[in-house]
Structure formats: C-alpha cells, structure tokens
C-alpha cells in the first residue's frame, strides 16, 4: 500500500470533483423527479424549488393511462429468473474449470470469450422467427432464457476466478476425510466462494435488467420490460419532465442497489476476469 505521508492533498479534491461530475446527470434526474412539472421545465434547472412527490404519485397512480407495474414485474421476472438459471448452470461449469482443471481449459475460456464478439443483432432475426413459429413472442420466459445464455459466458468466467481462490489443500484434506462432492461443495467451497458468487449473480441481474435490444423486438403489450416501457413512456409523456424523471429513477433504482451491493467483489472479479 502507498505511504500516506506522500499523498498530495489536491488529489483528494480532484477525485471528489470527478466523482461529482460523473454523478451530476443522475443526481439531476433524481432531483427533477422530485419537482413539480413547472419547476422541472425551467432552464437553467431550478435547484432550490420546493420538493414534491407529485411526479412519483402520477407515475405509479396511473395518472398517465398505463400502469408501470406490469413492466416492472416483467423485468423482475426475466432478471431474477435468468439469474437463477445462470447460477444453476454456471456454478458447476466454473467449478469444473477452476478446481478440477480440464485439459485445454484455456480453450474453453476462449470459447466463452468469443461469444462476446458475436453481434447481438445477428441472433435477433433467427430468434424472432423461432419465437413467431413457436408462439413465444411477447412471452417473458423466452426473454429469461435468452438472458441466461447471454450472461452465462461472463458468469462462468467470473465465477471461475472466484472459485480458483479456494485453497486446494483444504479441498484435498476434505476428500481425505471422506467428504463426497456435495459435502465438499457445501462445507468447503461455498463459504469461501459465496461472496464472489453473489457478486456474479448481481452482475447478471444488472445486465438482464438493462437489456433493451431483444426486449424491444421480442415483447409487446404483455411482456414488455421496464426499459422498453421507459422508451414508450418518453414518447407519450416526454413533455412532463418530472414524471419521466420519476420513471427513469424508479427503473434505475434496482440496478443501482445491485451495483453498490456488488461493488467490492465486482471490481475484483472483473479485473481478474476482466469483462465489460
């Protein structure tokens, strides 16, 4: 670690300034959501205007003609559902790659990496035609399956780096003591790797919640997700800035919470696996 006496004071100020600069647009959104419509529309923004929950009330109270709950529930279903599926599939796969290295395990990792080179739009059309054929258009479970496969490579990649931190000696002594695979997993691997797995789950949740391209094409009135709802909401309610800001804030809230919760492990995992 750095020697504290060498820290040049202004660096702290610069860091804070950068932080503020990057948060400013989002802070403006949160603030505008709390203003009344006339105050929200002024330019430059009226920072000191009285606060009101009117924007939120109208957003949730269906004062806009469409209830925001179905899309929010859809997003939650697709994100949570796909995250659970990812964990079920990725934990065994990452375990296989991390603890019992397969021959050519680097090739396997490269295969996972190469899926990052595929343009999503390439898959869009075949998936759309498939959904049309099977009647799965506007069905949230199709999105959940798609998000699962989109996040699977990243999840395996991240979790492998977390699982690789489990000391081999402990596993070996557990095996010597006659512990089976399941017992080893539950008693030895899980406690060490749990925070990393949790962070991976939160990252998958964030990516699924934010996805727009597939959701836009494959869903409609029934299964539309929150980002799709937001783009439509802007078209119909764009003039009511406070209301739209309230909508954007509500839709950003789950991923922000997930991001903060995953913060430490997220940076560590991403720099080990270095994804996105």
């Amino acid at each position: 670690m750095r020697n504290p006496r060498r820290v040049w004071r202004p660096w702290g100020a610069v860091a804070w300034l950068a932080g503020v600069l990057f948060v400013l647009p989002a802070a403006w959104m949160v603030l505008t959501a709390l203003h009344s419509e006339p105050d929200a529309a002024t330019n430059p923004p009226s920072v000191a205007a009285p606060l009101t929950l009117q924007g939120y009330a109208e957003f949730f109270g269906a004062g806009t003609g469409v209830s925001p709950w179905p899309p929010l529930i859809n997003s939650a279903t697709a994100s949570v559902g796909s995250t659970v599926l990812v964990l079920l599939l990725a934990i065994p796969a990452a375990y296989a790659l991390a603890i019992k290295p397969v021959r050519k395990w680097t090739d396997v990792l490269f295969f996972f990496l190469s899926t990052k080179m595929l343009p999503m739009v390439a898959g869009l059309l075949p998936v759309y035609l498939f959904a049309q054929y099977t009647g799965l258009l506007d069905n949230i479970s199709l999105l959940a399956v798609l998000y699962t496969s989109m996040n699977l490579p990243i999840a395996v990649w991240l979790m492998r780096s977390f699982l690789a931190e489990v000391p081999k000696e402990i596993m070996e002594s557990a095996a010597l003591d006659g512990a089976g695979l399941l017992t080893t997993l539950r008693r030895v691997v899980a406690p060490v790797a749990a925070p990393g797995i949790a962070a991976t789950a939160l990252i998958c949740f964030i990516f699924s919640w934010n996805e727009l391209l597939f959701a836009r094409v494959l869903t409609g009135v029934v299964a539309g997700t929150a980002p799709v709802f937001l783009t439509g909401f802007v078209t119909s309610q764009g003039l009511f800035l406070a209301k739209v800001c309230a909508a954007a804030t509500v839709i950003s809230l789950p991923v922000l919470v997930a991001g903060f919760a995953a913060q430490d492990k997220l940076v560590q995992g991403l720099s080990l696996g270095a994804v996105k």
């Binding site: 990057f22 959104m29 330019n43 065994p92 397969v102 595929l118 059309l125 991923v255």
Partner: protein, 350 residues
C-alpha cells in the same frame, strides 16, 4: 550432499512413483469425466441459444427472402439461394454508401470512445489511487453511470443535449445536437465516455492496487521522478489489466446499438452503426441483407480483436496468473529485505 547418502531414499521414491502415477491417472480420468458432466449443460444451452441463431444467420445471409420472379417469369415464394450476392450488394451495390457510412461511423466511434475512455479512465484510476480519504465514496459514485440502464442514460443525455437543454445553456450557443451532423457524433461520444470511462477506471484501479509499493520506494531512492515512475513502473505493471479492459471495450464499442438508437434515433446517417443498420434491415423484413450486415460486423469484430491481441500482446487469460506471480516475487523480495535497486527486468519496459 553426497550421492551415497541419497541413493536409498531416492530408490524408494522411484519405486513408489508408478503406483502413485497410476492412481493419479485414474483420478484424472474420473475428474475429466466429472468436469465434462458439469460443463455439458452450459455448452448445451450456449449451442442452442447462441450458436444455433448465429449459424442460422450465416445461412440467411446467403438467401434472399420474400417474393421474386424466376427466369421464366413465375412468382417464387420463400427463400432463394443467392450465394454471396447479398454481400456484393452491400459492399459495392445499391446499399454500398449506407454500409460504408455505417462502417465508418462504427470505426470512428470505436477509436474515439475507446481512446478517450482509456485516457480518462487511467487518469481517474491514478487520482483515486492517490486519494486515500473518501476513496470508497468516489468509487461508488463513479459506478452510477455504469449501472444505470442505457435506455436511461441515453434519455438523460438527450435532455441535456436538447436545444433548450443544459449543454446549450452552458456553452451559450444554440446547437441542435441530436440532428444530423458532426454534433450528433459528438453527443454519442460524450454520452458513451460518461457511461464507460469510470468503469475502465475501476478496472485499472484494481490493477494499480496490486503493484507492490516498495517498487516506488526503490525508484525514489534511485532518484526517479514521478513522471519516470509512471512510465517505468506504473504503466508496464498496469498494462495487462488495462489491455484486457480496453479489449473488452473495443468489442462492446464495435457492437454499439442502444445509445445512438435512443439518443439520436433510427436511420440517421451521422450516427448509424453497423448494428443499427442490421436492425433496421431486419425490421423491414430484409432478412438476407440484415444477416449479411451482421455477418460482416462479426468478421470485423474478430479481425480487430485478433489484431489487438497480436499487436499489443493482450494476455487475456494468463493475466491473472502473471500478476499473481509478480505479487509473489514482490513478497519474496520483501522477505530478503529488498535491496534498494528495483529489479530491472520488471521496471524497464520491453
């Protein structure tokens, strides 16, 4: 040591080796089977949901769809095999200008955003690394742009770039940012850098934090200034982490879709990327050309990634191992009560 004294234990050891190795081989085969079993569901899902659509898109790119007249003047329904005609049309046919424009935009966005994100991200990482107080808060706050959905961030920037928006108020000019022209490109770049530079910064910061502090100590003793310390210690040692972060940013930037789509809009020449072009063709039911655009984009991404890895030597997987080795060596040095001179092979960039 003399040979006589070690012969006996050595022979005992060699005798036991084959039995041991046999057991290990059997264990290895078992482990291999188990690993294959554990990996197969993941591969099955990826093959079904990712590989199948891609192969299908490749196939589509060789067909034309919809109604056509055959050589006898009969109307033919359904897919017609046209070979590489879709590609030929794109590269030098009627659609060529639009394709090359989108190709140029994609490349331009990739080069500018990745360059700016790398520089800004690196600077932020250095600043955060130096500033001890409140580092956690600053780190959390720069996470905000990354976590916010692109649909929301594109919306935020559309308001700020509106004709009566904040940006125009600050610069004191009336610029129509989100209409056609260079300013549309600039708006996309600013919004993208805002969204992803902090994250490059966080990844670089993680790389900075594992550089052993005694390297700097030693460099100071040797009289190296902070500029030299940066070029000869910080940059070479943070390079693996930085290169991997940049590689992933390049992959994402080449496939950019949501941001220009929401910020500027569909079918705008100035900001249309290859992904948007493919999307637009697909939504107009031109499946063949859409698939051809997507295929070309895929090959472009592969070529760029390959060149990047080859030219700059980004060690994507060995990265974690390499850095651990550096850490171990540093620990070893500390244990030996490190000499003042930094080990040359690490400090001097190759």
């Amino acid at each position: 040591m003399t040979s006589t004294s070690t012969t006996e234990p050595l022979r005992a050891k060699t005798r036991s080796v084959p039995r041991h190795a046999r057991g290990r081989r059997r264990g290895r085969a078992e482990a291999g089977r188990l690993a294959a079993l554990l990996l197969s569901p993941t591969f099955a899902v990826l093959a079904l949901v990712i590989v199948y659509p891609l192969v299908s898109a490749l196939r589509d790119s060789l067909f034309s769809s919809g109604e056509q007249l055959d050589e006898n003047g009969f109307v033919v329904q359904g897919d017609q095999f046209v070979g590489l005609r879709n590609f030929a049309d794109i590269v030098r046919g009627a659609a060529a200008t639009r394709f090359w424009n989108a190709f140029g935009n994609t490349t331009f966005f990739m080069l500018t955003t990745v360059a700016m994100e790398t520089v800004i991200g690196m600077a932020m990482a250095l600043v955060m690394h130096h500033a001890l107080r409140g580092r956690g808060v600053v780190r959390a706050s720069v996470l905000v742009p990354w976590a916010v959905p692109t649909a929301v961030s594109a919306l935020l920037w559309r308001w700020m770039f509106a004709s009566d928006g904040v940006i125009n108020a600050i610069i004191g000019h009336q610029v129509l940012w989100t209409t056609e022209g260079w300013h549309a490109k600039l708006a996309v770049i600013v919004a993208d850098v805002w969204k992803t530079a902090p994250f490059v910064g966080l990844l670089t910061l993680a790389g900075l934090q594992i550089i052993p502090g005694d390297l700097y100590e030693a460099a100071r003793v040797d009289g190296a200034g902070s500029w030299r310390q940066f070029w000869q210690i910080t940059l070479p040692l943070v390079k693996p982490a930085l290169l991997v972060a940049v590689l992933f940013r390049i992959l994402d930037a080449l496939r950019m879709f949501d941001l220009p789509f929401v910020l500027i809009g569909n079918q705008k020449r100035s900001a249309e990327t290859l992904s948007m072009l493919a999307w637009d063709e697909a939504s107009n039911l031109h499946y063949g050309p859409a698939a051809a655009y997507a295929t070309l984009l895929f090959f472009y991404v592969v070529v760029v990634a390959f060149l990047f890895v080859k030219l700059l030597g980004a060690d994507v997987i060995g990265e974690a191992r390499g850095r651990r080795a550096v850490g171990r060596r540093a620990v070893g040095r500390r244990a030996e009560d490190a000499p003042a001179a930094p080990p040359r092979e690490e400090v001097v960039p190759a």
